[in-house]
């Protein structure tokens, strides 16, 4: 493509492609002229509108900002719980072989299984409120954290353990100064994946346990066939998700700076 030489680098190509795509979408939506195919411009305006109180049809008391906040509060709680319990359990299982064998059929099963199937059960036990949401999000996030932490602990290089022993280190020293620091990058991967799953948990719990907040907003838009509204909400959730993941990546860089520093010396 000769036109490529004009643009030069790859990011320009990406931006060009996006503009092309958005433009085509916008044109298509205007041409079709039904509310069922909203263009990007409409979605954007709806998104902005939704943050003010009059934005949501049929329910002037709901604003997207407040709904997002109230949706992510249980996520915050659940994620912290999942991190604390998940890492502890992962380390315990990694250090103690018996513990691992005892628990891992359950952990692996729940890691691979579709947790959403349990949401109706959770509703039964915990009703439709805050607790139910926290439990659901917790279950979404915790298993991936446990599994990755376990991996990190199990992959402690024998070389380092031998090194510590050559200085006469105790088992406690080895666990706190060798096993755990070595596991940190793995744990970080678990946390990053965990937050992705937690966001999914938020969406699922909001859709199914939809008494207040995002679930109701989506239902409202759905009832009025406002696809632009549904897309707007999806975009909002996506942005929040990306921000949260970005935070975890920041944390990752903070806690494991040695992984980022490339080789200063090339042999």
């Amino acid at each position: 493509m000769k036109g490529l030489k004009v643009f030069g680098n790859e990011n320009a190509l990406r931006i060009f492609s996006l503009m092309l795509g958005l433009g085509a979408w916008e044109i298509a939506s205007r041409m079709s002229n039904t509310p069922l195919v909203p263009g990007p411009q409409r979605v954007l305006t709806t998104l902005v509108r939704a943050f003010s109180t009059e934005g949501i049809p049929n329910d002037p008391t709901q604003a997207l900002g407040g709904a997002l906040l109230s949706a992510f509060v249980p996520m915050f709680v659940a994620y912290i719980l999942a991190t604390v319990t998940g890492i502890s359990l992962g380390i315990l299982m990694g250090i103690n072989r018996k513990m691992e064998r005892l628990l891992d059929p359950f952990i692996n099963a729940l890691y691979a299984a579709p947790i959403s199937a349990l949401v109706p059960v959770m509703i039964f036990w915990f009703g439709l409120g805050f607790t139910a949401r926290v439990v659901v999000i917790y279950l979404f996030a915790v298993f991936v954290i446990i599994v990755n932490t376990l991996q990190g602990v199990k992959h402690t290089p024998g070389d380092f353990v031998e090194l510590a022993r050559s200085f006469g280190a105790s088992r406690r020293y080895i666990i706190s100064h060798i096993v755990i620091p070595n596991a940190i990058p793995y744990i970080m991967v678990g946390l990053r994946l965990g937050i992705g799953r937690a966001v999914r948990g938020v969406v699922v719990s909001e859709l199914i346990i939809s008494v207040t907040g995002i679930g109701i907003i989506i239902s409202n838009y759905s009832a009025f066939f406002r696809i632009d509204g549904i897309l707007a909400v999806a975009v909002a959730i996506m942005i929040v998700g990306m921000l949260l993941t970005g935070l975890v990546v920041l944390l990752e860089n903070l806690l494991a700076p040695w992984k980022k520093k490339g080789t200063a010396f090339q042999e």
């Binding site: 996006l18 005892l102 099963a109 691979a112 959403s116 199937a117 509703i123 199914i208 549904i230 999806a234």
Partner: protein, 281 residues
């Protein structure tokens, strides 16, 4: 665990001995696991029988849940509902594979095409597709087509991205090696790029199965007028936790079995040597 077929000294054992050793090793590794699961079921049963009358509905014992599962299959039509979910899911899934792998390969080979398409792929990869399911119910209704689309959308991006990763990252060393023998680009593509990419592709295929299952389950839960969702709603409104739990367990077991199947296939086709996958969810 070393292969039981060959001892240190190098003689080959007979097949019986090999299988026997495998069984011994299997039980040795797994007794504690079976014990754990077994005792969990026993504890569950004990706890449920000890529940005071008034609260009994909140913790049905394993026997009641099992009975409810049987009931769900016989009276409520769980079997048909499962099939009604499985078939569209597999359709969407295989379509995603059929379209995703070629697309991923094309993107991996051509940097220009990759840059052109990847903002969309990456954007949709992180998009909360779950939030779009209500929208899809409007666009496509509640039938086969809708479910297949859900499964397709949930799985396709994983397949594209993992295939892309595998195709892109063919080590230069190998390509240079082939070129030093005067190999044509077509040869390089067929004999080096593709084989190298296969483990990555298989990871994508495995993860995509997990995602497709998640998508279908959520879709089923939201569609309470038919299918599995209807069965759960029926049990729910009748306050039958044994039924709700039973169906949940059936779904989860199905999900585990399906992903396990794909995992087994992955190990068969491409034993995974890398430590970390290109993109784990």
């Amino acid at each position: 665990m070393e292969s039981p077929g060959i001892t240190l000294i190098g003689q080959r054992r007979s097949w019986d001995q090999t299988v026997g050793t495998w069984f011994k090793a299997f039980w040795h590794e797994n007794t504690l696991r079976f014990l754990a699961v077994g005792s969990a079921i026993v504890v569950w049963w004990a706890a449920s029988s000890m529940m005071p009358e008034h609260y009994a509905v909140f913790l049905p014992g394993p026997q009641r849940v099992f009975a409810a599962i049987v009931e769900a299959f016989q009276t409520e039509g769980l079997g048909e509902a499962l099939l009604g979910a499985l078939l569209p899911m597999l359709t969407g899934y295989f379509l995603a594979i059929a379209m995703g792998i070629p697309l991923g390969i094309i993107m991996g080979v051509s940097r220009k095409i990759e840059c052109f398409i990847d903002p969309y792929v990456n954007g949709l990869y992180v998009a909360p597709l779950t939030a779009l399911i209500p929208a899809m119910i409007f666009w496509f209704g509640v039938g086969f087509q809708m479910r297949a689309t859900v499964a397709f959308l949930f799985s396709v991006f994983f397949i594209i991205i993992n295939t892309l990763q595998g195709t892109k990252h063919t080590p230069n060393d190998f390509v240079e090696l082939a070129r030093s023998f005067g190999a044509s680009p077509f040869y390089i593509f067929r004999k080096i790029v593709i084989p190298y990419a296969i483990p990555y592709i298989m990871v994508g295929v495995r993860l995509a199965m997990g995602r497709a299952i998640v998508g279908i389950v959520i879709a089923e839960l939201l569609i309470s007028v038919t299918g599995i969702g209807e069965i759960i709603a029926t049990f729910s409104s009748a306050f039958r936790l044994d039924g709700v739990l039973g169906v949940a367990l059936v779904i989860m077991t199905g999900g585990i079995l399906l992903t396990g199947l794909v995992q087994w296939l992955e190990n068969l086709i491409a034993p995974w040597k890398k430590r970390e996958a290109a993109f784990e969810e």
